[in-house]
């Protein structure tokens, strides 16, 4: 089960620009992800997260170091094979919708990979039901909400039956409702299929749902660990321009105000639970 699915080995990448003083967007980053994990990649604006996503699927190649996916080193030869087993969802729901209707869009990757028609119909249907969008299959993109478009994008990735799903700020342009829908979809998918997920996000609340968090700071890996361990850094994360989850900030503020809470809480539910207990004790 615990096979490595993706790894970076001392990866450095600098964008090629006129500007000679350009610092590397990603600098000497090393990490490894196992099959079935849910990883959150967080960091401030410009910390190199999207660049890492592009290195993961061969839109960019490292200047130094090695990117390995599914056991193969990323190169011109392995590129298309790797891509066909990896799904990717981007930030802007509108700018990744290629098809004229929902089902056309879901089929796009299948068409590109030459999947026969009968199989395509079946896979499109399954993928749409996985994200609960089967009732919308004939809808045009401009009649869908942002959250629905992102779910279609996820279905488009799932149709290829990928081993790995990368979400690059897939929820950041959505309203709270749409964000919930997308996160719920990911959670359900992981339960039913054990898909490996890398979600890139600004939102530590979302990152708290992952099993492991990798924090990027100015192109370098800052820390890596479970959400609880990472959030323990508290003020350091805030200094890096990240917002701690609401429940954690609330816990800190309550503690400062003299409410003797026992634990660090990452979710609102847990905080509320303890507050109830506290209240009944008092």
């Amino acid at each position: 089960m615990n096979t490595e699915i993706l790894s970076f080995e001392n990866v450095t990448f600098t964008y090629n620009t006129e500007d000679e003083t350009m610092r590397p967007a990603v600098e000497n980053v090393t990490f490894s992800i196992e099959s079935g994990e849910w990883i959150a990649l967080v960091g401030h604006n410009g910390s190199g997260k999207s660049t890492m996503a592009k290195l993961m699927n061969g839109l960019l190649f490292p200047n130094e170091g090695k990117v390995k996916v599914f056991g193969h080193t990323m190169s011109e030869e392995t590129l298309w094979d790797i891509r066909s087993q990896m799904g990717m969802v981007f930030q802007n729901p509108d700018n990744q919708f290629v098809g004229a209707t929902v089902q056309d869009d879901v089929a796009f990757a299948l068409e590109n990979n030459g999947v026969p028609h009968a199989q395509m119909v079946e896979r499109v249907h399954v993928a749409l039901s996985q994200v609960k969008m089967e009732d919308y299959k004939d809808h045009e993109p401009h009649h869908l909400s942002g959250g629905q478009k992102q779910r279609v994008a996820i279905a488009g990735a799932l149709a290829m039956r990928p081993k790995l799903l990368i979400l690059d700020e897939a929820t950041s342009m959505l309203d709270p409702q749409g964000r919930m829908e997308v996160i719920e979809t990911i959670r359900r998918l992981r339960e039913s299929t054990g898909l490996t997920v890398i979600s890139i996000t600004h939102d530590l609340e979302e990152a708290a749902l992952a099993e492991r968090i990798i924090v990027m700071n100015r192109g370098q890996k800052h820390v890596e660990g479970t959400p609880a361990a990472v959030f323990n850094e508290g003020s350091e994360l805030t200094e890096m321009g990240l917002d701690l989850p609401f429940a954690m900030r609330m816990t800190h503020l309550l503690q400062e105000a003299g409410v003797a809470l026992q634990e660090e809480h990452m979710t609102e539910d847990k905080l509320v639970d303890e507050l109830w207990k506290y209240y009944s004790r008092a």
């Binding site: 802007n92 700018n95 990744q96 004229a100 056309d104 796009f108 990979n113 028609h117 395509m120 993109p141």
Partner: protein, 265 residues
């Protein structure tokens, strides 16, 4: 005005014509355009008009709706009619009033040209009204297939067309948003002399272009990530389905040609 304009619009529906294969419809319209020129007398034009009305009837598009939606086209039609009426000077003089002289041949030509124009506009409108733009694109792609041999980038052209169609509503929305944003900053596009209005459009177009380029870049990335490598080795999700009705429509057209030829002077 723009809402009522139906030229190039698609109205979903359920009729024999709606259900036809887009390839058949496109072929039909193109052949029809050629066949129209066979008619050269009153009989011929009457038959053409009758045939067109039959097709409109089969498509279940209300005639009133069609005529109402094509109003701007009718202005052009009337203009052409009068042009022929006044400037053809052949045949018997029918009517003269001051410098206006109307000849028999002028009246004939005017009527014939108007009918020709009318049936062409009706037929193409029936095509676009009953066929979704994406089906038309599919149809064109398959019909142009043979031209791949002479290196015509058929697949790329079709993809370009379908992506443009897909982004029209998105860009319209965006234009609306930018317009409001600029209005909120005090720009006034709706009024003032022409020169001012043209100037006011510039701050509308620039953000629109910038965002369109950004979208294009994002879209290209998304397509590449999803394995897009050009038309080679691709399969098609939307299948075209040629049925009996499609063959019959072309047979009908052959029949029309024969009848027109028979009545030709």
């Amino acid at each position: 005005m723009m809402e009522k304009m139906i030229f190039g619009r698609f109205i979903p529906g359920d009729s024999v014509v709606h259900r036809m294969d887009p390839r058949a419809k496109i072929l039909f319209v193109f052949l029809f355009i050629a066949i129209v020129f066979v008619a050269n007398n009153a009989w011929g034009y009457a038959i053409l008009l009758g045939f067109t009305l039959l097709v409109v009837f089969l498509s279940k598009i209300r005639l009133y709706f069609l005529i109402n939606g094509l109003k701007p086209v009718f202005i052009l039609l009337i203009f052409t009619f009068f042009l022929h009426l006044f400037f053809t000077r052949e045949g018997d003089l029918l009517f003269s009033f001051g410098f206006i002289e109307i000849y028999e041949e002028g009246l004939r030509q005017g009527i014939f040209i108007s009918i020709r124009f009318l049936v062409l506009v009706f037929m193409t409108s029936v095509l676009t009204l009953t066929t979704s733009p994406i089906s038309i694109t599919d149809g064109i792609e398959v019909l142009l297939g043979p031209f791949k041999k002479i290196k015509l980038p058929v697949h790329e052209l079709a993809l370009m067309m379908s992506i443009s169609l897909r982004f029209i509503p998105t860009l319209m929305d965006e234009t609306g948003k930018i317009l409001k944003a600029q209005m909120a900053r005090g720009s006034d596009i709706g009024s003032g002399p022409m020169k001012e209005r043209v100037k006011a459009v510039v701050p509308l177009l620039i953000p629109l272009f910038v965002s369109a380029f950004k979208r294009a870049e994002d879209l290209a990335t998304a397509m590449e990530v999803r394995g897009y490598r050009g038309g080679e080795g691709r399969t098609r999700y939307r299948q075209l389905n040629w049925q009996l009705a499609d063959t019959l429509s072309l047979v009908l057209l052959a029949g029309l040609t024969a009848v027109l030829w028979y009545f030709r002077a």
